[in-house]
Symmetry: C2
Subunit: 303 residues, 2 copies
């Protein structure tokens, strides 16, 4: 980590928390991206997951990210992307992983009880000063803060996939969150190259999904009403909004299992029907979206 980052006087004026060591819990797709982006930005990072085997897979993921950064991120070639790998240490022991963390970013599966268990344990083993940030997109900080034993140092920082391009960090406290903690995390987000999206209060779906969920839902309704096909619906949106993607392309990127989960839980009967339509016509046929090569669209191999 470079000296100018640890001694950023602007950050120090705004808060009492210095962030130098960051631990990321969970090395799935987004967890890996968060850990790598943080290491790439000069921080000492500990990647935690539940087994050495999973951590070995994470190592491969980080190496692939380094290659991707070299190809896609300005300035990443010539050693910088590779150097980030040396700033990541691995741990499958939560106490060890958290022992010197200034900030823990949690990206474990979106199961409330699991997250609460993690925070209960983490609250006991992490230093007093450590700030906890959940990357949850579907749960709210107030559903987990108390389990951490430190609700004043608890908030949500929600990242988007392809963090180096979609560089938003939605930052949401609950009423207990210390404003200095909130501002520390806002400043940290900037230091790892994110645009901090400051939410004034809790909102299901935060900003991004509060916009995207009704938009994708409207598209699904047009589909199950047989108004038009996905290609036509997407084309209409792309042309009028001069946007690269329509809603079905977006759903393929999000993954159709996630799409199903979102709408199967809707209050709107038609959206629940749409979720079942997606299950029957796509998920049950192994069409899970872009990563599997087929969803609403077909994708060439290895995209």
């Amino acid at each position: 980590m470079t000296t100018d980052m640890t001694t950023d006087t602007h950050d120090q004026r705004n808060n009492n928390f210095e962030i130098a060591h960051v631990t990321v819990l969970g090395t799935g797709v987004l967890g890996s991206e968060i850990a790598y982006q943080t290491a790439y930005s000069g921080f000492a990072v500990t990647a935690y997951d539940i087994s050495e085997e999973i951590l070995e897979a994470a190592r491969t993921r980080f190496e692939a990210l380094a290659t991707r950064f070299e190809n896609e991120v300005n300035g990443a070639a010539g050693g910088r992307a590779q150097a980030a790998l040396t700033r990541i240490r691995y741990s499958s022991d939560l106490k060890d992983a958290a022992h010197d963390a200034d900030l823990v970013i949690e990206a474990v599966p979106e199961i409330l009880d699991l997250k609460r268990d993690v925070y209960q344990h983490l609250g006991q083993v992490a230093p007093e000063r450590t700030i906890f940030a959940t990357n949850s997109s579907t749960l709210l900080p107030s559903q987990m803060a108390d389990s951490s034993g430190r609700p004043d140092r608890f908030l949500a920082m929600h990242f988007a996939n392809k963090i180096w391009i979609h560089n938003t960090a939605e930052i949401v406290g609950d009423p207990c969150t210390d404003p200095a903690v909130y501002q520390t995390v806002v400043a940290f987000a900037r230091r790892i190259g994110m645009e901090p999206i400051e939410l004034h209060k809790e909102q299901p779906g935060y900003v991004l999904n509060a916009l995207a969920v009704p938009w994708m839902g409207a598209a699904l309704k047009l589909l199950i009403r047989d108004i038009a096909d996905p290609e036509t619906i997407d084309k209409t949106w792309r042309i009028d909004k001069e946007a690269p993607e329509g809603p079905f392309q977006n759903m393929d990127r999000v993954g159709l299992k996630t799409v199903y989960d979102i709408y199967a839980a809707s209050d709107d009967e038609e959206l629940r029907a749409a979720a079942n339509y997606v299950k029957q016509h796509y998920i049950d046929k192994g069409k899970l979206g872009q990563p599997t090569g087929e969803g609403f669209y077909r994708y060439p191999a290895a995209t």
Copy 2:
């Protein structure tokens, strides 16, 4: 009009209607764009409006469009954009305007009774063969078809603003529409450079507004709940979707009076409250969106 357009054998195979003369009713912003785009594509166009004074203003609009095409449309400079102006004739007499029309595109104000009156009159003065297409975005063909006296030759063809860039034509019949008429209009849309968006059946808002209305509504809810400000909400969308505009930028472009009209009529109490918020904080202060220089954002003069 060039010969290759009038003798397009592909079109002739698919239908029994030949389109050579097109009359556009209404010379407002979108009506003018439709008429000019049609003339630019080689058709003989009659622009109809209710007074010579309005038609004089339309003439200025068409000239401005020719200049705009010269600057923005490939191949329009060097005479082609100007030549389109010579293919437009003007009429404030409906019988005269319609007397040789193969297709009438109606773009009069979005008031059902007004449109029905226009179609009742038009049905009496237009030739038997003439197809009627409404550009309505908020009304459905089945609400007007019977007033025309020729429901089999009646459908909706909905254009978007900045027709030369946002070149969608949403085409919607009602159960009475003759399939050959529908296909004639689809082929015509292609011949004037549009992407025909074929809807299998009627849908309020067609495709585009069925997607955009829930998306803008979700953004308004975030605003009136004080979750975040318009700039932050738009930024979040732009970054994640790699899109040029967020929902508030889009609303400024649509115009805030239209936004008010959409949500003031909503079944959703919170959206009606959002409509009132827009009225109080923007419309009542003369902030009507991009054309007036200010809406959710401020715009430099003369945009």
